[in-house]
Symmetry: C6
Subunit: 291 residues, 6 copies
C-alpha cells in the first residue's frame, strides 16, 4: 500500500548504505542486485542483505557472494507470492479501495505525477498493493504546493478506507509516517510554516561515513517543540480535510476503480483514464480539485 | 498466561535476530531449533541462545554447536516440568481463571480468532498457562475494530482475576504490556485516535542490520506526549470496562471453564464450545458481546 | 540488614550475568562457586568476580581459574569476620532492633513466609544482620496483597529504628530501595494502581544478550511521571503507617526479640515462636495485623 | 543554490576530517584531490570518499588509492552534467530567480563581499546554482553588522522566490540552515543579543581528535532555551523583513538578472555591474539598502 | 583543605578501580603503592596511575612497572613540596582559618570523631591543608544525627573564611561537594527527609564490572526533582546556619587555633585540647553545641 | 584576543591529554614540544597533534615522530605569519582597542595580576592579539573578589569594542566563554551565590583515565537550572556594567594605549605604566576602580 518506490538507481544507492560492514564477494555487483529487485523499498533491501548474509553464514563462507543474493531474492519473492494467495477477501477489498484512493487523489490534485499503474498484487515485502506514479522527469526542487499535493496523495489510501468501510486499518501506517515526514520537513527544514518562519530546527545532518547512529539532542526549547507539533498537526488536518472532500465528491469514481481492481488486479494509466472518462461522460465529478 | 505465541516460522525469525554476534557451528540449523521449541516466546528463545552459549563456553568450544542447543532445550524444558509440579493450589486456581478469562473474551468479541486450546500446563519459560487461538488464515491488515478486540482478549485474564478473587496478581504483566503496546501503536503509528489525528509519532524504525540498540530521542513535545498518554489511557480504560461487562454477564461460563480446566488441565476448542453450549442450554449469557 | 537473599540457583544465575566478558578457566564451575557463597547477594557476587579477576591478573594468568575464585571467597569471608568483631555496641543494638523489626512484621502480616532465622551475624558483604524467611514453596505469582505484605516486611527494620531510637540510620538503604522497586513495579508494570489503570509504563525489557547497558529514554510524559511518583509515594506512605501501627502495638515483643538477639546473636524460627508465645501468655499483642 | 563554498585549502581540511578511519594508499594526496574538486561542499567531499571506498571494496583492494578517487570524481561530475540536462524549465526559472536574489542582496547590503559570479550551472552535488562572492581578503573578525548582512544574503534566494512565484521551494533548505546557524551563534556564542547579554551558551567544543560524535547535554534551563529560540526567531524575522524590502524595491533589477541568467547561464561580476548600471540609468532603485 | 582521607586499604581499593585497562608489570603490588601514598585522595591516585602510564609509554615499555610508579610518586611529592614553598601569605592565612574551622566544628558537635591533627602542610595533590579526625573504630552504620554532624564539620572551613575575611575562596569546593553528596544521599537514598518519605530515588547502582560510564536516565518526575533539590537546600542551609552559630560563638578559639597553626604549621589532637583548655579557663565558649 | 595562556608546564599537561590514542615514536619528548610552542592554547595543541598525525600517515609511518611534530609546528607558525600580514586595517584597529580594553581593566581592578605585555601580533592559532599578565606567584586559592576581577578583565576587550565602534565583533567569543565559565563555577561549584547557597551542582568529575567523553545527565531540577542561569546572568551583567563604567571613565587612556599599540604593535608593562603616568599627569582618570 505504498506509492513512490525507488527506481533502480535509488535501490543501488540504498544497497550501498546497508551493505556497510558486510563483507561481500568479488562477484557481487550491487547495480545488478538493484536490477533484480523492482518494487523493493528500503526496508526490503535491508532485509535482503540480511537474508543473504544469513545464508552465507549457514554455508560457512567468508563473504556474501552473488549466489546468496540470488537465493535470498528468490526466497523473498516466493514469500510474496504465497502472501498474495493467502490474503482474505476482506483484506483484498481494503487494499483495492486503499489503492484506488491513492490513484484518485493523484489524478485530482494539480501537481501530482500521472498515475502509471495501480495494482493489488503485493510488491516488495511490506506492500500489499501499490500505486505507481510515472515521474516524467527527475525532480530537483519541490514547491510548497507540490509537497502538499504529494502529502494528499499519501493520505488518499487511508481516507478511502474511512469513507467506504467506516473502519480503518493498519495498512496506512507507512503512508502516514511519510506524510508526517513531509509535513515536519516543511515546518522545520524548508521554512514553509508562517508561524515558525524561516528558522530551521533540523538536527544536524552528518555525512553517512561518520554516522554513529546516535541521535543528537534537540537544540530547541519545549515551547518551540510544541509550536512545531501544532504546525505539523495543522498541515496534516487540512490535508486530511481536503482529501476527504475530494474522495467524497468522487465517490462514484472511487467505487469504479476499486471494483475494476478487484476484477483485474492491475489497471494501467491509460485504462484508468478511459475508465474515468467513461464514467465522467455519465456524471460530473472528474474535475481536478485543488487545495 | 500468554496468548498469541509465535509459530515455527516466527520462532526461526526471532532466533535469527538474537543469534547475531554469536558464533555458531556449521551443523546448526535455526529452522530445526525453531521446530524443537514449540510454545517458546521471544524471551525464551533469547534465553535458549544464552544458555547454549554458556554451555559452549564451559566446554571450551569455539562455536555453539547443535549439541549445545539440544542440551539447552532439554534443560529449559526440564525446568518447566519442575515448575508445573511446584505451583501451589492457589496459584493454579488463579491461572485457571486467568486463562478462562482470555478464552471467554475471545469467544465473546466479534472479530477474535476461534479458541483452539486453553491450558494450565506451563509452556515456554514465562507462561504458566496459555490460551491458543487458531488463526484460520495469516493476517496482513488489522482494522481498528480487530485491534480493540485483540486488546480485550489480552485484558480478559486480569479482569477474570479481579472479578473472582477481588485481588489481582503479577501474572498479567505480559498481557498488560502487550495491550498497552497495541493501544499506543493505534494512537502513534496507525492514526486511529481522533484526538491525535493522522500524524504519526513513531520512533524511526531502523532496519535490523543497522540497529544499534540506542533509543532515538523523542521528536515531539511534552504536550504531545501528554495527549498520547491520555489517549492510550482512554483506550485501555474503555476496553477494561468492556471486558468487565462481558465477564460479569458471563460469570457462570467463566466458573464453568475454570472448574473444567482445574480438572482436565487442557480444554480443546470443540470441547469448549460443547461445554458452553450445554451451559447455554440452561442459561442465557452466551451471546457475543460487542464493544 | 537484608531479607530475601538469592538461593544457590539464584546465585548461579547472577554469576552467569556478571561473568560475561571475563575469560574463565576450564575448571571453573559456576554452580560450585554459587554453592560456596551462601548469603551473598548480587553485589557481593559481582564483587567476588571482580576480586578473582584481579588476583588472576596479579598472577599473570590468562584466565580466571577456580583457585582464584576460592581465594577471593576466602578473602571476602575473612573481611566479614573482621567486620563483625569491629562493630561497636551502638551499631549492634541498631542491627538487633532492625532485624527484630523485619521479623516481627513478617510474623504479623497475613501472607508473609514464615521466619526461619533472625541473626545479627554479618552475611555476604553488605548485610550486617539478616532475617531469613523460609519460602515453603517457589512462587510463580504474587497477588497485590502479597506484594504489599512483602513491602511492609522490608520497611519493618527502619520503622523499628524510628520507634526505639528516635533516630534512624543508613542501614535501611537497601531495604528502602527494594521496597520502592516493589511499589514502582506495582504501579508501572502490574497495573495495580487504580489511578494509573492497566496501562504499563515499563521500559522495554531487552533480552540479556542484546543488553547494551544503555537506558532507553522514557516513553511517557512528564505528567504521567508525576502521577507515577505520587502513586509510588502513596503506597510507601500507607505501608509506612501500617508498619508503624504494627510495631507500636507490639513494642513489647520487639524489645523481647531484640534483647534475645543481642544475647544469642541468632534466633531460629521455632525459638522465635516459643519466645513470643511465652510473652503472649502474659500480654495480648500477638495477633496478626492486616493492612 | 548555495553561496560561500570552501576554497581548495578548505576542501583539503574537510577531506582530512572525513578520511579518518579510511585506509588510503601511499599515492593519495588529499591536496590534489582538493584541487580536482572545485565547487564541492563538505557533504560532496564526504560522498566522494564514500564512493571511492566503495570502488576500492568492489575491486578487492586493501586501500583506497588515487585511481579510485579519480574515478569517483569522474562519476560524480558525470552525474552533475546529467542533472543539469534534466532540470525542467520551471526548476530552471526558480533557480535563476533564487540566485539572482542572493546576488542582488549581496550588492545591496553595505558590508557584503563583491559578487564575482552568478550561475545556474550545478556545482558540487547539492547545488543547482551558485552565487560566488569574491572575498577580497581573508577575514579574521566579523562584526555584528557584517554577520547580519551575510545572513541577509543567505535569505536572498528564498525571498526572491516568495516575491516572484508566490510559492516557495525546497531549494532554500541549506541557505536557511546556515542563516539559522549564524543567528544562533550571534545569540549563544558571540554575546550579540541584548536580551541574553554576554553569557555564552555554547556546547563545549572538543578538538576534532577527541570528537566522539555524541552531543553533550544542554547545560542551560528550558527557560533560557526559550529565550534563545525567541532571539534567534527575532533576528531571522527582522532580516527576512529587510530582505523583502530590498528585493521588492529592486524588483526590476531582480527580473533583469534572472532573465539574463536564463539566457546566459552565468554572469560575471563586471557584467553584473554593467547590467545594473544600464538599468539604473533608466530607473532609480540601485542604491545600497542598509538594515 | 580536605578532611577524611582514605586509609591504606581505601587507597588500594581506589587504585584497583583506576588500574582497569592499564597493563601493569608482574612486580607491581598495588598494596605497596597504597602504602607509599599517604594523604593521597582518589583524584591523586588516578593522577598517579596516569603519570606512571605516561612514563612507561615514554620509555617504550609494554607494561607499567613498579619503577614507573615509584618515579611518578616522587615526581608528584616533589611538586607538593614546591607548592608549599610557593603559597603566599594571604593564602596561608586562609588555609589556617579554614582548617581551624573544620577542627573547631569537629570539637563542637556531639558525634564527630576526635581531631587527631590539624595541619597547613599540603597533602596529596589537591589539599593545601588538612584536618585529620581519628576514627576510633570502623563505622558500619551512620545515624541521621551523625550524618548532619559530619556535614557540619565539612562546612566548618568555608564558614570560618566567611566570618574572618568577609570574602570566601575556592578552597572549599571539595568540602561543599562532599557535604552536598551527604545531604543528597540523606534525601534520596536513606529516606531521611520527612517531605520525601521512605521512597528512594537513587540511580541504579551497577556493579563495577558492568559499569559502562553512561549515566542512566532519571526515573522520576521533574516535580520530584524539585522537591529533592528543595530538601537538599534546606539541609545545607540549616547546617550552614548551625555552623555559623558555633563559630561565631567560639570566635576567640577560632583565632587562637589559627594563629597557632600559622606559627607551628601542625597541631596534634592533645595540643589542641590543651590550647582550648587554656583558653577556656579564661573564657566560657568551649561547650559542645548541638544542632 | 586572549589572555591567560598556559605556560610551558601547562602546555605539556595539555599535550599529554590530547596525545592519548596516538602512537608516538620513542624520540618524542612532549616537554620539548611544549617548549617549542609558546603562545599555543589548548585548541592549538590539539590541532598540532592532529597535523603531526596526518603528516605521519601521509609518510606511511607507524608512529608520529619528532620530525612530524617539528614540521607541523613550522606549518602552523607559518600560517600565523601569513595571517598577520593579511589582517585588514579595520580588523587591526578592533584588535588594538580590544587588547587595550583587557589591559586597562587589568590595571584598574584591585586584585588583577600586573600587565606584562600587550600585543596585536597573533599568537597561537586562534588569538589575533594578547594581553599577558605576569603572575608574580602561582595561585592555589582564588577569593570571590579575585574571581570577579578576573571576569572583568576578560570582558574588557568586548566592552572596549562596544564603546569605541558602537559595533561588536566575534573576537570576544573565547573571552565570553571563559568569563561565563568563571561565573558558572562561582554559582555551581564554589558556593559563592547567596541565592543558591552552599549546595554544589557540579557534574561528577571523573578522573581522566576513565573519561568516556559522555556527559552525565543533569542531576538537578529544571527550576534549579533556571536559578543557576539567572545567577550566572546577574554576575555577568553586573560585571559588564562595572567594566563599562571603568572604560568610559578612562576612555582617554583607552585611546592612548590603542593608538600606541597600532604604532608599535607591542607594549611592555613598564612602557604601559609610563604611558599612562604621562597621561595621568595631564588628566585625572587613572585611579583604581573597584566593583
Amino acid at each position: 500500500m505504498a506509492i513512490d518506490r525507488p527506481d533502480v538507481r535509488g535501490r543501488e544507492a540504498i544497497l550501498k548504505v546497508h551493505i556497510k560492514g558486510v563483507k561481500i564477494g568479488p562477484d557481487v555487483d550491487l547495480g545488478k542486485v538493484a536490477a533484480l529487485t523492482p518494487g523493493f523499498v528500503g526496508a526490503d533491501l535491508a532485509n535482503l542483505i540480511n537474508e543473504a548474509a544469513l545464508l552465507s553464514a549457514r554455508r560457512n563462507k567468508n563473504s556474501v557472494d552473488m549466489s546468496e543474493f540470488q537465493d535470498a531474492i528468490d526466497r523473498i519473492i516466493g514469500g510474496l507470492e504465497k502472501k498474495n494467495r493467502m490474503m482474505n477477501e476482506k483484506e483484498k477489498r481494503i487494499v483495492a479501495y486503499h489503492e484506488s484512493g491513492h490513484a484518485l487523489v493523484a489524478m485530482s490534485v494539480p501537481t501530482a505525477d500521472p498515475v502509471n499503474k495501480v495494482s493489488i498484487i503485493p510488491r516488495g515485502i511490506a506492500a500489499l498493493g501499490y500505486t505507481q506514479q510515472l515521474p516524467t522527469e527527475d525532480r530537483y526542487l519541490m514547491t510548497r504546493e507540490e509537497l502538499l499535493d504529494r502529502l494528499c496523495v499519501l493520505l488518499g489510501g487511508r481516507v478511502a478506507e474511512e469513507i467506504i468501510f467506516k473502519d480503518i486499518s493498519t495498512g496506512a501506517q507507512n503512508d502516514l509516517q511519510r506524510a508526517t515526514d513531509i509535513a515536519r520537513s516543511m515546518v522545520t527544514e524548508y521554512g514553509m510554516s508562517e508561524k515558525l518562519g524561516l528558522v530551521t530546527y533540523t538536527r544536524e545532518k552528518r555525512p553517512l561515513f561518520l554516522d554513529t547512529g546516535i541521535a543528537p539532542s534537540k537544540e530547541y526549547s519545549e515551547e518551540t517543540a510544541q509550536e512545531i507539533d501544532a504546525e505539523v498537526s495543522r498541515l496534516m488536518e487540512e490535508s486530511h480535510e481536503r482529501v476527504r472532500r475530494i474522495l467524497t465528491e468522487k465517490r462514484g469514481q472511487l467505487e469504479l476503480i476499486s471494483q475494476t481492481l478487484l476484477e483485474k488486479e492491475t489497471i494501467l494509466g491509460d485504462e484508468l483514464k478511459a475508465l474515468l472518462a467513461g464514467e465522467a461522460a455519465e456524471g460530473k465529478d472528474s474535475s481536478t480539485v485543488s487545495g
